[in-house]
Amino acid sequence: MRKPLTHVRALLLPFVALATVLSEPPQLVAATPAAPTPVASLRTMAKSPVSIGAGDFALDRAFHTATKRFEFQLPPGTVPLENTDGWFLLDLNYVVTFGADSDPGFAWISAATNNATAAQLEYELTRNGELSIRESRVTLVDGQDSRELDGLSTGVEYTNYARDQGVRDGDNTFTLRVEHTDGVLIEQVAFREDTGVSTTVVPPYPLAIHATLPAEAIHAGDEFAVTVMLENRSGADLGDVVVDVVPADGVAVPLDGTTHDIGLVEGIEELVLRFEALRSGPGQITVRATSQRNRPSAPLDLFVLPASGTSVTVLTLIAIAASAPVMLGIAIAWAFARRRNRRRCD
């Protein structure tokens, strides 16, 4: 693996030279991540402590279900433009206690805004003499995680990004939902008053990648450069960043290898990757980045022109040679057609 020729670290970059492949202008990133800002919590939405007990469940289709619904309002203009100013988070914090005589089965505790679920934990109860409980979760904040409970009760702190259009200006609902399969015993789920909705400036997909081709035309045989910019939008260090290249098959090949180990990205990192155009025609180069959090990619469509200096005569001869099979086929078909017409006239 060879390092690229140029590896530039920059916090402030001149963006005007970048071409239209950029999806959005990169932004400066704060040195430390700002803490989420509460928007609505059970402290303000509920009149009293919120809990769900064994007597709250009713059979709803496949599962025994209990829900608690709350309302909150946001003034006009509160909801930020998507993917630019901020993102909503759902915070789900509680203590759950299972019954010692519970049957094996499953339980789920979830939260939703406007019926769009964005917080969820699953519990799998198995029994081999004693009851074992395994909790699993998925979030865009921390990824996937699971653990075996030590006993019948556990406290949970969970945060995840809300659904697209999951929160709106004006009236909103916030719903807590607890479900379980037949025979599972849930004695209580006691929700903490900081359960609710908050906002953050940290995006769900913190690493962004932008890649651009040179402005001038690329001819077969040319060496050209692709400028890649990595942007860490999380406000915290992002490690284990690797950039790799999927070259355009047969059209262009990378000259500096396909894998580049970047390591830590604190703000904005720029690198320049060299390619050689092998032949004329269309192709796609994909530049991908991996990190501890997400794996963005940037496809680049390119069109390589014939080699510079190719004469018109040569191009004409190439065109004639390429079309010769087609012309021969037309001639043969015409000959057969004439012969058939002559027979009809006989």
Binding site: R61, Q120, E122, T181
Partner: protein
Amino acid sequence: MNRTSRWLLALAAVVAVTTGVVKTADHTANGASTSRLSKVTVHEDRFWNYDFTTNRVHANRVDWPIGLVFFGNATINKVKNILGNEYDRSGSAMWGRINDGPRWRWDTDRGRKTTACPGLPLRPALARHYRVYADGDDRLYNPSWGFYVIGSTHYDIRECAVSGKQFGWSENSEDWVVWRWSVNGYWAQNDWTGIGNQEPLRVEGNHVWSNNGRASRLHTP
């Protein structure tokens, strides 16, 4: 008929039955072929639009097209519980290939089917069978689909009979999963979105391709 002839006849019967069992295994082990294998991307989640007979991505080792997206508040265990009043038997395992952002992973699932070993005496001749896949903790999440799992589905016809085995008709089988989901009281949308795995009617041995390339979505509240 002398004793030797009777023994030979019994041996021939054993061989015939064994061949039938091996042929069933052959169907699942070798896989089928497609020219439409591709990746589906939603936000930064990715998955292959077919499941596989082994943990290897290969266009000649696919099993069935992905045609089911259970979304909203789904997990694999939730889906199987909701459909469990009809799909209550376990089948053979296949593989799904999924990337939830950080990395690609394999998931294996036996799925659920309406009848175990169809085609045996006193058993129905056919079964409908689905398999569902997700990442490590049995579901994925993205802000568009919420918590979701993906699935494939097909018919198993005379699977355990001596002859006449056929497998496939995924589009029709998908329709029946959507129907059962709806009858059980949950919202579903048949043929919601294209994911590039359309398969016009085509017979490949006992593997019958039939899929319109549009996955259905089934909401889990």
